[in-house]
């Protein structure tokens, strides 16, 4: 047993060296490569459920809102897809007390965009810079400055707790939108919409996008 003592001390020394290097490396890392030492991501099983959206009412006949002017953009934009008919564009984004987080399909996401509902992009900064929904706010949930970006969004967009907010990531099994939604629920927001097919679907449908960081 005493012969193992030097090896044990060396193993602990390796761990200590790794901790020191991790601290220094994280301090010197670029902003989009930094990670907080304390995380807030709950286990996937504890993420809030996202019930399916209720079917839109059929009787009303609102005229389709005109397509919003591009908010800002630097890169090329594909042709704008025709707007699908939506009988009650705003009603489906009204707050529902029993469902603070709801999944929305592609058409509803387009409607939210047309209604100038703020979009939050939960993907990584690099992915955001490669292309995002015009006017979207970048809140990469896994990067160290996610909380600061939420604060910036709150300061500049000043959303009410019951104001609709759309969130997206990469679609498929991407859970970053739900992580961000959980964080926003913790901050008091009660009317969140997750665009479940995410940005790949947005691109596939030829909708406008912009590139680069948000100014």
């Amino acid at each position: 047993m005493p012969k193992l003592f030097p090896d044990l001390m060396r193993a602990l020394a390796l761990l200590a060296a790794a901790l020191v290097c991790a601290g220094l490396g994280n301090r010197l890392a670029r902003a989009d490569r930094k990670l907080d030492w304390t995380g807030w991501a709950p286990p996937a099983g504890l993420l809030p459920a996202t019930p399916a959206p209720p079917p839109p009412p059929q009787a009303q006949a609102h005229p389709a809102a005109p397509e919003p002017a591009p908010l800002r953009g630097k890169g090329p934009r594909p042709p704008v897809a025709p707007a699908p008919p939506s009988p009650a564009p705003a009603a489906q984004f009204a707050p529902a007390p029993d469902a603070v987080i709801r999944d929305i399909a592609s058409e509803a996401a387009w409607e939210a965009f047309r209604l100038r509902i703020p979009f939050l992009d939960a993907r990584r900064s690099a992915e955001f810079q490669d292309g995002h929904v015009p006017g979207a706010w970048s809140v990469p949930v896994w990067e160290a400055d996610a909380a600061a970006r939420i604060t910036e969004f709150e300061a500049r967009a000043n959303p009410a707790p019951l104001a609709p907010i759309a969130i997206y990531c990469s679609g498929g099994d991407c859970e970053d939108s739900r992580l961000l939604a959980k964080k926003l629920v913790d901050l008091g927001y009660r009317n969140l919409f997750i665009y479940r097919d995410g940005f790949p679907d947005w691109v596939k449908r030829g909708r406008p996008q912009e590139r680069g960081a948000r100014p």
């Binding site: 012969k3 060396r10 390796l14 790794a18 901790l19 991790a22 890392a29 991501a41 990584r124």
Partner: protein, 165 residues
């Protein structure tokens, strides 16, 4: 047979191979700790408080252990860490494979593709981890055997098994 398996010639090569794999595996994770944290989170095994410290520290531990093995310094301690990490990785992959939860391995890259490709990757990653575990076991067993042989020698293992030793 056992003596051949524990021969220093084989140990040196096992150290270099295992060390090189750990260095190569550490570099992409060091370059993107948030991506590695997401990969750990996707395993749905680690508690929330552990994910970020693990994502920041494990890549450096892998790098240091890999370098130690390649350079022949503190080889038993480094091989013990490698074996422990490989056991954790293989167990985490096996658990998720058993519960049909395809995850991005996060072993040498921090992004993956479709669910089917992930499942295939997971199977290969488990096999690879077991192979690497055999290398770590060889290094540890050879170190223990050499220590028995040198029981009355005051030498340390500082450069034990290194190419120049």
């Amino acid at each position: 047979m056992i003596r051949r398996l524990l021969h220093p010639w084989l140990t040196v090569r096992a150290q270099i191979a295992l060390g090189a794999v750990f260095v190569a595996a550490a570099l992409p994770k060091l370059a993107d700790p948030p991506g590695f944290a997401e990969a750990i989170w996707n395993y749905q095994l680690a508690p929330a408080w552990l994910i970020h410290p693990a994502a920041l520290t494990l890549p450096w531990l892998e790098l240091l252990c890999g370098l130690a093995l390649c350079l022949g310094v503190w080889t038993r301690a480094a091989a013990a860490w490698c074996a422990a990490l490989l056991l954790v990785f293989a167990t985490a992959l096996s658990v998720n494979l058993a519960r049909h939860h395809p995850v991005d391995c996060g072993c040498t890259q921090t992004r993956a593709r479709s669910a089917d490709e992930r499942v295939a990757d997971m199977r290969w990653a488990i096999l690879r981890d077991l192979g690497l575990l055999a290398l770590a076991a060889q290094i540890l067993a050879a170190g223990a055997a050499r220590r028995r042989d040198l029981a009355f020698s005051p030498e340390t293992d500082t450069m034990e098994g290194s190419p120049g030793a």
